[in-house]
Structure formats: C-alpha cells, structure tokens
C-alpha cells in the first residue's frame, strides 16, 4: 500500500494550524532578513526592528513588498544572510538589462526545498519505484536541479538527461522504461511528434505521468498531452526567486495547484494598489519564502497573474490552490519555457552599429515549439554596399541573441523605414501564438 501524503500532518492541517506555522516561519524569515544589507535597511525604514512585532498572519501587510529590481540592484550580495562559506549552491538568472539576479542556498535550504519538491511529487501519485526522466534544463536554471533533488528524496530512479536532443530522449525512455517525465508542455508536444515520426510510436514506452511547468498553458493543452501519450499531466508552479519548482503543484485531482503554505505565504494583490484580494479574484501573485535562510525573500511580487481558491480539495489537503497563471503584469515573454523580456533583445541589437532604430519581434508556432523571428532595420549610413556585409550582420545578430537569451532566433534584415512605426508607443512584439 502506497502512502498518499509525504507529510500528512502538515498537508492536511486545519487552517489555524497552517497560519500558526506561517507566523512562526515569518518570524524566522524576518530574523534572517535583518541580517542582510538590503533588508536590514529596508525593514528598518518601515520601522521593523525585530521579529517580535509579528504575531498573527494579518501582520504580514506591515511588511514592504520586494521586487525583481530590488534583487538586481542588490546583486550580488545584498540579500545574502549567511557567511559565504555556508552557501552550498548558487542559482542565477541572466538579467533583463544585463544585471543578473542570484539566489543562495545553505545545505539546510537545499534540504527544505527538496522536501517540498518531494511532497509535490508524492501528491501527484508518483513514488519510489518510478523511473523519472528529467527533461528540464540543468544548470543555473532551477527547473532541472529542483525536481532532481526532490525526486531522489522520494526515492525515484532519476535520469538527469536535461533538455534537448529529442531522439536521445526517446531512446532513453525506451531503454530505461521511464514512467514519469518532467518537461515544458511545448516540449512534450514536440517530443510526441518526434516519436510519431520515428517508427513504432508509443509502443515500448512505459510512461504514465508527466509534470509540466515553466510556461503557461491551457487546460486544452494539458488534455491534448494526456491524450497523445495516454498519461496524466500535472501542472506545477515555481520561480527561481522562490527556490524554483515546487511552490505549488497539482495533486491527483489535477484541479489547480496546492501552494505549500507552510513553506510559502501566498497573497494575491491588486497590482495597481498593492491591496490584498480575496480568494477567487485575479491579481498579482505575491510570495514570501519561509524556508530559505541564505537569501530571504519577503512579499516578492512575481508579476504573474492568477487567483486562489480555498474550497476544500477532494484529496484532503488543506493548502489553498492557485489557478493556472493567466498572464503577466509586465511584458515578459515565455518562449519554449525560457523567460525573455523584449528589453533584452533590444539591448543586444541596439549595441550593433549597423542596426537602425526600429525593430520588432514576432512569435509563431512551428509545430509544437515556439518560433522567434527578430526583424531589424539596418542603419543606412552603415551599409557598405556589400551583400556579404549584410549576411555577416545577420549571422552576428543571430549569434549574439542565441548566446544571450539561449533561443535560436530567425533574423530578418529590413530596409530603413520598412517596419511599421506605430504612433506613440511602438509595438515591438507581435505574438501570433494561439491564446491560452
């Protein structure tokens, strides 16, 4: 008989018990935060000098929000709360404006995160005995390693294959009889088309479940993946600032994602006023990380839009559920699971002297995968008269974009004045992908 819960007591705790855990957690986080240069100043400015001022969950609103800019502006050590020698892991993301963000972990932080991921995995019905093929990128991105450690903790057999090389993925699925995979929804669709093309189709595969994440997708996409492979697909939510995957995960009933509230305090706010919104109302997701000492994060504005439901779930878990992410409050694009800001693209192409002032990016679907086309006007004065100069320019832009945003774009060069100029704010992004 297999266990349905990883930590039944906490997962099914009554609300008042969860809130008690949250208040305890918050006191700890404030203590850790006061040890960082950034929060040391920021909290004192809000006249918060000690964790003792926090005695109920409503006190949370006394705390100021933290933004991505705060992380950038305090790179690299402004939010570090422990001695560097205590840090066992660094995850970092390339910044939108060239300034990256960084998250540090102590050994205890990694252990607590892995425990939450293990809980997420068990909630889906996956368990020890499953062969887990992790198709998320390993490295500074948290998607790969986050699930890796959680799966090992559960006792699954982990195949750390990382992303890409689809034919090899299929071979490994067959060779080791993988039962659970972790990937972006678009990659799974792509994987399916490769399997279809390469002979015996799904025969010889042992797949039964998949965890999907890192990019927004619709319920229809989930259903399609489930039908194509004949498996169950579970949605997940996480972001590197909040450790990575495992902030919220769907249980066996696949009806919105349980936010592990003893580890993360979730709020939904009105992005314009900062006021908390009740369950059922859509707004910006704000998260406080209660389980990471090395880089404490309080009331972090994720820019993701979603809503909460606190209806009891059939699984018996009492932790609130988060809807699918319905959008963003900023212009961040998610291209094949990679987060890209238009400003990153602008930054790269504008430093090339042969490029004019107007540019535009188009997003389309190429089969299951996203296709990025970057349209650039050339700067007339820099045109030497050589066709080879133009060809070289095109490869250079392509290469620099590929190196920086890790996506292989199609680059098209245009004559000056040929891209549409809109009045007022230029429309730089044309997203032709079907709406989710």
């Amino acid at each position: 008989m297999t266990e349905k819960f990883w930590n039944k007591e906490i997962e099914t705790a009554p609300r008042d018990q969860i809130e008690k855990l949250q208040v305890q957690g918050l006191k700890k986080v404030i203590q850790w935060a006061l040890d960082t240069p950034f929060y040391g100043k920021k909290l004192k400015k809000s006249e918060i000098n000690s964790p003792d001022d926090f005695n109920c969950i409503a006190d949370l609103t006394k705390l100021p929000f933290t933004t991505k800019d705060d992380l950038r502006n305090n790179f690299p050590r402004g939010l570090l709360a422990v001695d560097m020698s205590e840090v066992v892991r660094i995850h970092s993301s390339s910044g939108t404006t060239g300034i990256p963000t960084v998250i540090y972990f102590t050994q205890d932080d990694v252990n607590r995160w892995s425990d939450i991921v293990a809980r997420s995995i068990i909630a889906t019905g996956a368990r020890k005995g499953d062969i887990f093929q992790n198709m998320m990128t390993y490295g500074l991105f948290t998607g790969g390693l986050g699930l890796h450690y959680g799966a090992e903790k559960v006792g699954m057999t982990v195949i750390p294959v990382s992303s890409g090389n689809t034919k090899r993925q299929v071979q490994i699925m067959k060779d080791f009889q993988s039962t659970v995979v972790h990937a972006t929804p678009s990659y799974l669709m792509h994987l399916h088309s490769v399997i279809e093309q390469s002979g015996p189709g799904l025969a010889g595969l042992a797949l039964r479940k998949t965890f999907v994440g890192a990019e927004p997708h619709s319920e229809n996409t989930r259903l399609k993946i489930e039908e194509m492979f004949g498996i169950d697909a579970y949605n997940s939510y996480g972001l590197s600032e909040l450790n990575g995957p495992g902030v919220a995960f769907e249980c066996e009933f696949k009806d919105s994602m349980h936010v592990w509230e003893d580890a993360y305090i979730v709020e939904i706010i009105d992005p314009a006023t900062g006021q908390q919104l009740p369950a059922g109302e859509e707004g910006e997701v704000v998260l406080t990380n209660l389980i990471r000492q090395a880089t404490p994060l309080i009331r972090y504005r994720t820019r993701d839009l979603a809503y909460l439901t606190n209806e009891p779930c059939r699984c018996g878990r009492t932790h609130q559920r988060l809807s699918r992410i319905t959008g963003r409050t900023d212009d961040m694009l998610i291209i094949n699971g990679v987060n890209v800001f238009p400003s990153q693209i602008e930054e790269i192409i504008m430093q090339i002297p042969e490029v004019g002032t107007n540019w535009q990016i188009c997003l389309d679907k190429d089969g299951a995968l996203d296709k990025l086309t970057v349209n650039v006007e050339i700067y007339s004065k820099m045109f030497s008269g050589d066709a080879s100069q133009i060809e070289k320019l095109r490869s250079r832009i392509k290469e620099e974009l590929r190196a920086s945003i890790v996506i292989n774009p199609i680059v098209r060069l245009h004559e000056p004045g040929f891209l549409p100029v809109s009045e007022g704010k230029a429309k730089r992004v044309i997203d032709n992908r079907p709406k989710i």
Partner: protein, 143 residues
C-alpha cells in the same frame, strides 16, 4: 579610371526594384548596367548610372540604404571569346575579381563589363598595361 557603382540594399518585397528605377528615372538619371545579388530574404542592387553623385544623394534622401563602391568598367568586342581574352589577362596577372557583370550597348559593337576587384589600383594598372580599354566616368555620361 574608375567608376562609382551604386549599391542599394533592398528587402525582398514586391515593387521595391521598381521604386528605385522610377525614382532615378523621374530625376533624369540613366542606368548603364545593373545586377542584383540576392539571398533568401534580401537583395543588393548594384548599378552604374550616368550621374552617380546625384543618384546617391537622391537615394539617401529617399531613405534607401545605399552606398558607393569603386568598380572598373571595360569595353570588349561583342563577339565570341571577347570576355575570355580579358579574363586571361586578369588571371595571368593574379588579379582577384570579387564579382562582375556585363551589359551590351545597343549603339555600338562593344559589350560593357563591370568588375569589382579586390585591389582596384592594381587591376587598373594591369588592364592599362595590356591595352584594355577602360571606360571613364565621362564615357558613361555620354553613352
């Protein structure tokens, strides 16, 4: 004597070549030779015109990405082997051609060949020494 060739960057879009031609035409500029270097997504129009300074000003004023490149134009007899004779001189003297294109004059028995050489000065010297007739700017204007 070298000529000024005008290059214009054109994206592959309907009517774009015509835009250039009608702009030059309506300003009394006559094209003497032209070719298009093309790739999948764009082309570079190269041409020799009778009033190159005026043409480049005009194109730039109309927002074309255009520039001037030095080329050498020579006249050859419009008969079999005419081009081969010139190319032999060129290759015997280790002169590198980046590209070339030809044009037949309707009022004479000569063909006009436009060369872009790696080293224009060197190429001109070689051609002169071998008695090849090089077309001068004023010849183009009168053609």
């Amino acid at each position: 004597m070298r000529l000024k060739q005008i290059s214009v960057f054109l994206e592959n879009k309907k009517g774009r070549l015509q835009d250039v031609c009608s702009l030059l035409g309506s300003n009394g500029i006559n094209m003497r030779a032209l070719t298009i270097a093309e790739t999948e997504s764009f082309g570079v129009l190269r041409m020799v015109v009778d009033k190159s300074d005026q043409a480049i000003d005009l194109l730039r004023k109309n927002d074309f990405a255009a520039n001037v490149t030095d080329v050498v134009a020579v006249e050859v007899e419009d008969k079999p082997g005419g081009l081969a004779g010139i190319l032999k001189i060129i290759s015997d003297n280790d002169v590198n051609i980046e590209y070339m294109y030809g044009f037949v004059e309707k009022f004479s028995d000569k063909a006009l060949l436009v060369f872009r050489f790696e080293d224009t000065d060197h190429a001109q010297r070689i051609l002169n020494e071998n008695g090849v007739s090089i077309v001068a700017e004023k010849d183009i204007q009168g053609l």
